[in-house]
Symmetry: C2
Subunit: 226 residues, 2 copies
């Protein structure tokens, strides 16, 4: 079976897991703490980062965007991108919004402070979270939930009428925050309704079963009624 080297609370890895789930492609998950710089892992991906898809054939595909686009190229049914070039550009624009803007302003600093630093040694940069950074991310997330709510006013999914790469990218980021327990869903009912629809999809099940040792998710994390 193909293997996915990943981290559970990583938006890039969760995006790939959602894409694999949507495409019906089963993989064995292998957790890789990429900051440790394990030599065998660097041989798979010289960039030294998860996610990496290792095929049974021994071939590797490295990086979230290359893996998702590879799945889209090689399993064209159950598409994650619409057929029209403009609609594809809109899905990719919103995917980039979350992978760059949301990542910088919210998910990456928050995950670093509240998750990664727990598992790092003092030499690697571990320690207790910097609460000023955490507070800034929790302030910023509201702006993005507002943007999702705005888009939901006249669209069924983020990029239009069909579920797309934009939705799985946004959900990958937000589901990490949801695990940490930091999304003010109740104040953004339209964003919440969109997220409930995503959370109900079979591709989401594996994510909802995640359990980081020593860091259990809040009770509502796996609930569809939250």
């Amino acid at each position: 079976m193909d293997q996915l080297f990943h981290l559970p609370i990583s938006p890039a890895c969760r995006k790939v897991r959602l894409a694999l789930g949507e495409k019906g492609h089963e993989v064995e998950l292998v957790e890789e703490r990429d900051w440790e710089g394990r030599r065998e892992f660097l041989a798979l991906n010289p960039a030294g980062e998860v996610p990496v898809l290792l095929e049974e054939s021994g071939r590797t595909i490295c990086g979230a965007t290359p893996i998702v686009e590879f799945l889209e190229d090689s399993v064209p049914d159950r598409p994650l991108l619409p057929g029209d070039a403009y609609a594809r550009a809109e899905a990719r624009r919103l995917a980039e919004w979350f992978d760059k803007k949301f990542a910088e302003e919210v998910s990456l600093p928050l995950i670093h402070e509240k998750v990664t630093k727990r598992f790092m040694s003092a030499v690697e940069g571990g320690g207790s979270p910097d609460m000023a950074v955490v507070r800034a991310t929790l302030y910023n997330v509201r702006y993005h939930l507002d943007y999702i709510s705005y888009l939901m006013e006249d669209r069924r999914w983020l990029a239009g009428e069909a579920m797309s790469l934009a939705d799985i990218t946004a959900a990958a980021h937000l589901s990490c925050l949801d695990y940490i327990g930091d999304v003010p869903w109740s104040q953004f009912p339209q964003a919440k309704e969109w997220y409930v629809r995503l959370k109900s999809r079979p591709s989401f099940r594996a994510l909802l079963a995640d359990h980081v040792p020593g860091m259990p998710p809040p009770r509502v994390y796996a609930n569809l009624d939250f």
Copy 2:
């Protein structure tokens, strides 16, 4: 004519300009200092960032990856991605290497210190460059030139036998450094030979004619024999 809102010393914008050049798609360039947050520009791209392609029809495509993939979808001849799914993944892996790793370790901090801060007011964060940051980027760039040299040992272009998205992405980043005058080409002859080949392509001409007011490029910037 379509317009491209851009900044001259921006790897993301240069990547789009190279892709447009390779596809033979002429545009009018409009410089946009995106840190100023101009209202009309935010109406074109809510993310408030260059590059943005504004078509004569009034349609916009926002962000470097969405624009380049849009060009690839809508102008399939003169491809920037190979036909085979694995080869496409390799081109995208290397594009991501430069857009994430090289960007973080070298180009974005260096451009911020040596270019952007010149044009920002003190309130916006402008001022003289932080030389510790500049030195760190000049140290890091050697590792990436070494990686290009390594790839050139058994490939004609970065991702294989054909020029691809990987090459234009890497060249977009390196050409910004070249404008600032900070690439130790002479110590990396294989990387230099690859860059000379790219620099000789017609798509590169417009980049070589760039001239940032008050900040002329070094004499060798536009030379093919450097």
